[in-house]
Symmetry: C2
Subunit: 199 residues, 2 copies
Amino acid sequence: MAYNIVSLNELTAQFKKLPGIGEKTAQRLAFYVITAPEEYATRFSSALLSARSKIRLCKNCQALSDSEVCPVCSDAARDTGIICVVSDPKDVLAFERTREYRGVYHVLHGVISPLDGVSPDKLKIRELLARLSDGNVREVIMATDPTVEGEATASYIARFIKPMGIKITRLAYGVPVGGNLEYADEVTLQRALEGRNEI
Amino acid sequence: MAYNIVSLNELTAQFKKLPGIGEKTAQRLAFYVITAPEEYATRFSSALLSARSKIRLCKNCQALSDSEVCPVCSDAARDTGIICVVSDPKDVLAFERTREYRGVYHVLHGVISPLDGVSPDKLKIRELLARLSDGNVREVIMATDPTVEGEATASYIARFIKPMGIKITRLAYGVPVGGNLEYADEVTLQRALEGRNEI
């Protein structure tokens, strides 16, 4: 482009690397930053560095944390006898939003996916099994995504846990609350029928 | 939320301030940053600071620039006899993308909008009139947005320029190329009819 403002182009390029942000949006965001009060760029800039350098994995459950042990694991009121196994750190936040779950978590950081080169040893499965070895855990909830890879990962891990005599459960399948039956796919509907409850 | 990771929440908050970025997207972007290679956060961070501190307005046309005079104004091949007046710095990039326009620009930095407290003296109108006073400009293209405020701003400025004997033009109205007539509003269609050309 003839109109080459180096520092603006560089900022646009950085925005464009974010997931779901295309060229036009990146440009719009970059323009916003340079026209917003200077304080914004300064705060944004240090928030980036601070988050990236401070956040690590909880040594216990592998969730994201800015201390050695995450807020859930360090909360004495949580039931450490129930572990909810999720694939992604974001899933922990989704469960916490329900304000219902009182157990703890374990984050796998991915699902088994041979096509993407993700073998079981790349996931935090060893760390999960180590947590189960002390005999205090009564139940493991497999809460990986309801996808082919999520199912396969759950089955794979279940095979190791079953011999330990720990109860393993899976999230219920069914139609989403507030959803429209018309748009539900047949597999979901079939599972919703299978899991029907008396009212 | 129970799950309170201070530095992550702060980064999410900064993303959320960007236009068009809601809570969920902000969270997704923040997660991306903390899981991407550390180099990304560092480069993004310095791009923010650099763009914000280096970019200023071209002393001539008021477009964004990282030098005293913008790339267009400092290009000797451009025709300084034609000035395209736009309301927003982003509009300069839009025109430059056409690779057709060979004149120069003038950025007003807004449109007259009494309801939003934008009076004519808040815009770079004085700077535009100063540029026209040396008698070298043959034509001023009013390229403010085709909105009520854009029109009003164009008319307002035209009143000052007309007495100088300089030709004033306005962008053509019509149906957008590649658009679907079915979805064109009646005003646009009416203008397209009025401006019809023989083929």
